[in-house]
């Protein structure tokens, strides 16, 4: 991936990464090492996440096959900003500042991000001091220039979508700048999970972003299982994979139609909407919930595949196989639709590499990363996942990644149904390595949208001592701002839908 000598080997002390089992070990480092790492970010060293807790700031990093978490103690409440050298960290550091009060020294944009002055409390994850909830106005970036005007949109949008604010500056028809303001869906989920018993925390994890409830519940479960040294029964692992692929299928089908719909091509939306509904109904038959919420729990799965579930899933997969190619043909051969999607909202390869952008946004611009292949968590350790990669980075390429992934998910589901071992579905959690009263674990899971990172510290009594999660959208939202520049305002919905970033997942 990169010609320079690997950075992370210095920390891990291993000449070769442990490629068979990617564990996120945590290493304390000093400010000099922190600075050195910050300088190397984006050059084959990916920033996976950044978060704070009282008196310390953590970074999760990935380099090739190696993955580590580094911790910089900062009892004074200040640390050298990562965002000053590596732009993708800026919003994460603004969030750290809002939640913990840790100050990133040198942060180029220190405006609040999640905190809208409405909570009645400041720095809820550390000092939690009461303040007036006065809703002081947010300073948007200044705009100067002739002939410019602004269009504010949201947080209540025209469609049935999540809340967020978009501030467009336009010149005639062309977007000169988009500035996003997020945080409207912030529910304090990490704080609610902290101190909660694992079962309750798992329910909350499954509601961080409802469209990715399976992926989040799985990421949380894998992190907890690593922390507690638990073994998950084989059958549970395969059922988890089955749910994850059904979730991916439903979301991609919905997205493909919704993108076409934003180009006023409703017939595709109608057809993929029916396929999506069939997947949800099959999921309900198989697992008792249309979105499969609360089905994945630490230690396994809470519910086995229902007797009629296998047939329902197989029938749905068969039907999609027959119908979907015709829909793809319509998508590909309708000139009026192609005219809207080709060359629209272009994301450049250097952006996705810098931001380590996952999911269809990354893969549509040449970045082949897929956590199912990289982390090879069960059951993907014994399946082949070949991420579809396109180079153009436009709306069309993001649709094509989804099309290919729909096809792959159908194949994966077939394989999973064939393989499904007959084991128990749930095992008691282990007691963890005898390292101390608290143990930690982390996981990277591929949701339909991209890689979800989850880190958790578990107490000996089975409660969450601390946790952090990072939605794939953190590294996609900023690229949407860049991708719509010089596009016309009327193409924004199309660009936005092709990104389909999470609001709730991002806001936490």
């Amino acid at each position: 991936m990169t010609a320079r000598p690997p950075f992370l080997a210095k920390l891990t002390g291993r000449a070769e990464p442990d490629a068979t089992k990617r564990r996120w070990r945590r290493y304390p480092i000093d400010p000099a090492a922190w600075d050195e790492l910050c300088g190397a970010l984006g050059t084959g060293l990916d920033l996976v996440s950044l978060w704070g807790e009282p008196g310390a700031v953590h970074m999760a990093l990935r380099e090739g096959d190696e993955a580590v978490i580094v911790t910089l103690p900062c009892p004074s409440g200040r640390y050298p900003s990562v965002g000053r050298l590596h732009a993708p960290a800026v919003r994460l550091e603004r969030a750290v500042q809002d939640l913990t009060g840790l100050v990133a020294e040198g942060l180029p944009d220190a405006r609040p991000w999640l905190d809208h002055n409405r909570w009645g409390v400041r720095h809820p994850l550390w000092s939690a001091e009461p303040v007036a909830a006065d809703g002081a106005p947010y300073p948007f970036l200044p705009v100067e220039g002739e002939g410019l005007h602004q269009i504010p949109v949201g947080p209540v949008h025209a469609g049935v979508i999540e809340p967020g604010h978009f501030r467009f500056t336009v010149n005639g028809e062309a977007v000169v700048r988009l500035e996003q303001r997020l945080g409207y869906a912030h529910k304090g989920t990490a704080a609610l999970m902290t101190g909660a018993p694992l079962a309750h925390a798992g329910r909350l994890a499954g509601r961080i972003s409802g469209d990715s409830t399976v992926a989040y519940a799985l990421a949380f479960a894998l992190a907890v299982e690593e922390a507690t040294g638990s073994q998950v029964p084989d059958r549970a692992q395969w059922l988890r994979g089955l749910m994850a692929e059904l979730e991916r299928l439903a979301n991609h089908l919905g997205d493909i139609g919704a993108i076409a719909n934003d180009a006023a091509f409703a017939i595709l939306h109608a057809h993929t909407g029916m396929l999506r509904e069939q997947v949800l109904r099959a999921s309900h038959t198989a697992f008792g919930h249309r979105l499969m919420m609360d089905r994945i729990v630490p230690g396994g799965v809470a519910q086995d595949l229902a007797a009629e579930g296998r047939a329902a899933i197989a029938a749905t997969v068969g039907h999609i196989r027959r119908v979907f190619p015709k829909l793809v043909e319509v998508y590909d051969e309708t000139n009026s639709l192609q005219d809207r999607v080709v060359g629209t909202g272009v994301v450049r390869p250097e952006w996705v590499n810098q931001f380590a952008t996952g999911g269809f946004v990354g893969r549509a611009a040449g970045r082949a990363f897929d956590a199912r292949r990289w982390a090879a968590y069960a059951p993907y350790h014994s399946l082949t996942v070949e991420p579809p990669v396109f180079e153009q980075g436009d709306v069309n390429a993001r649709v094509w990644v989804r099309i290919r992934e729909v096809e792959q998910s159908l194949t994966l589901i077939d394989r999973m149904l064939e393989t499904l071992p007959s084991d128990p579905i749930l095992a008691p959690l282990g007691s963890g390595p005898a390292a101390g009263p608290e143990t930690e674990g982390a996981a990277l899971v591929e949701s339909f949208r991209g890689d979800v990172f989850f880190w958790v510290r578990v107490t000996a009594e089975g409660r969450v001592a601390a946790c952090h999660f990072r939605d794939p959208s953190w590294f996609q939202w900023p690229l949407l701002e860049a991708a719509v520049e010089a596009n016309i305002v009327a193409d924004f919905p199309l660009c936005n839908k092709s990104f389909n970033c999470a609001y709730s997942g991002h806001d936490g």
Partner: protein, 188 residues
């Protein structure tokens, strides 16, 4: 393309269609017959809905969006999602009302002309407590706006949403007045 268009003309795909779930089809057919009368009596032929996500996890929105697919086809009942509260009769609100969304929710309500109803959709909106203790959440829609109907579920299924909304059409009371216990149970 031509085949696809033709397929759309050959016969409606709207329920009753899926063999997988006959109970749902029967329920939809019954509801369709019922609402015809109620809607016309009260509102002519339509009820316009403005959806407001007040900080949901987005799963409630997924199921609300499903109401527009060809299986449920909510528009055949005269129920329509509109882009502005100015055009709305009903605010359909989801989520535990985050403190960051409270003002936007209140403003949306103010922008909605009377007579108007507020429907709280989902367990969060009804105050299930999962997010209620958070520093960042108000807890339930009824703490912010007068709620006429709560449709439970996490998330409520499209059928639960549909029966709740159709139940609302049957209400013959003036908007804003509390519903009877029976009417509150509609959709649960």
């Amino acid at each position: 393309m031509a085949n696809l268009l033709l397929q759309g003309l050959l016969g409606p795909l709207t329920e009753p269609a899926p063999d997988a779930d006959p109970a749902a089809s029967a329920e939809l057919a019954r509801l369709a017959a019922e609402v015809g009368k109620a809607a016309r009596r009260r509102l002519g032929r339509s009820l316009s809905i403005r959806e407001v996500d007040a900080g949901s996890c987005n799963a409630c929105e997924l199921e609300i969006n499903a109401l527009s697919n060809s299986y449920y086809d909510i528009e055949r009942f005269g129920l329509r999602f509109v882009a502005s509260p100015r055009h709305a009769d009903v605010l359909l609100v989801t989520g535990p009302v985050t403190k960051n969304m409270r003002q936007a929710l209140e403003r949306t309500y103010e922008a909605t002309p009377g007579p108007k109803w507020v429907v709280a959709a989902g367990d969060c909106a009804g105050g299930c407590g999962l997010f209620a203790d958070s520093y960042a959440c108000v807890g339930r829609v009824a703490d912010v706006l007068p709620v006429d109907l709560h449709i439970p579920g996490c998330p409520p299924t499209p059928l639960a949403l549909l029966s709740g909304l159709l139940g609302l059409l049957e209400v013959n009371q003036a908007p804003g007045r509390p519903l009877s216990a029976r009417q509150r149970e509609i959709g649960s």
